[in-house]
């Protein structure tokens, strides 16, 4: 396995989707390649930082309009 092979599999590798033999090949390469080791760590951290992250505000007026609209539509649908 070379650097290109690791880069193309880094996503599946951190998700644990690869077969054991491929994982072994990657980890053998990682022992010898600092750049790829850093790449794997940083890709993991990237995923970690974004997972379930609250980057969007939920304005009260948006919430109020949602409740008002749902109430109206549900009331209409039950008539």
């Amino acid at each position: 396995m070379n650097c290109d092979g690791v880069i193309r599999r880094v996503s599946s590798y951190i998700d644990g989707e690869l077969e054991a033999t491929v994982v072994e090949e990657i980890e053998l390469h990682l022992k010898q390649c600092q750049d790829c080791t850093i790449l794997v760590q940083q890709t993991r951290l990237t995923v970690h930082l974004y997972y379930d992250s609250d980057l969007v505000d939920f304005p009260v007026e948006v919430q109020a309009r949602l409740h008002k609209t749902l109430r109206r539509k549900i009331d209409e649908s039950r008539k």
């Binding site: 951290l45 990237t46 992250s53």
Partner: protein
């Protein structure tokens, strides 16, 4: 009344606390804990809502509205579209509750409905920017040119609000094709199969786009998080 009940229950739960929880963990391991929204009583609420109990549906709305708005905003990047998509998603969920099979999670089902609503609006605004089918096998522009260490716990060098701004600006730079897959898989925690299903693309396409999205994000974050970027 429906509105009064919703308003009474709709306390905005710790936005910053949630962010803090996400950002202050320094272990670079994206181990997936069960989402906090997967509460044990979800199936009871869904069963009650299916039998016509409006207050049970209200509770489901209260529980998930913030996350659904986050999803539709992350996909459309347009507040008006995001709001419409969220409203239509909840209404569709209400109208089609009888079609929901309780062998899967209600939240996942709701996310798929909301993702579809948001994608429909995104495609209307940007008809040429969202591919429906095969993996994007373009140039290898995602191959990293230069790798630099970010140092230990790079995220802790930033205030939470500063980090939030960085993450938001970086994800905004992703092309829509990549952003949508990344949001569904890595922000909302859907599986590859669920993401493929929600987007109407193959699982191979999801994996291909996810790889590129993650590498592009890593590269863009590198500008901010590398050790010599800020001390």
């Amino acid at each position: 009344m429906y509105c009064a009940t919703l308003a009474a229950q709709s306390i905005q739960p710790g936005l910053l606390a949630n962010l803090a929880r996400t950002l202050t963990l320094s272990t670079p391991n994206p181990h997936r804990l069960p989402s906090k929204v997967a509460r044990e009583d979800e199936h009871l609420l869904v069963a009650a809502a299916k039998s016509g109990d409006i207050s049970a549906f209200e509770e489901l709305v209260n529980r998930y509205e913030r996350k659904i708005f986050r999803l539709t905003m992350n996909i459309t990047r347009n507040r008006e579209d995001a709001e419409d998509a969220m409203q239509d998603a909840f209404m569709k969920a209400y109208s089609h509750l009888d079609k929901f099979h309780e062998d899967s999670r209600f939240y996942t089902w709701l996310v798929r409905i909301a993702a579809n609503e948001a994608l429909m609006r995104l495609r209307k605004r940007r008809p040429n920017q969202i591919s429906l089918d095969e993996p994007i096998e373009g140039e290898d522009d995602f191959i990293p040119q230069q790798i630099q260490d970010w140092g230990p716990s790079p995220e802790q060098r930033y205030a939470q609000t500063e980090m939030r701004d960085i993450l938001r600006s970086v994800i905004d730079e992703l092309p829509p094709d990549f952003r949508v897959v990344f949001v569904l898989r890595d922000v909302e925690g859907l599986s590859t199969e669920e993401t493929a299903d929600a987007m109407g693309i193959s699982e191979a396409a999801v994996k291909s786009r996810l790889l590129r999205a993650r590498l592009k994000l890593r590269q863009k974050l590198d500008r901010h998080l590398r050790q010599d970027g800020k001390h």
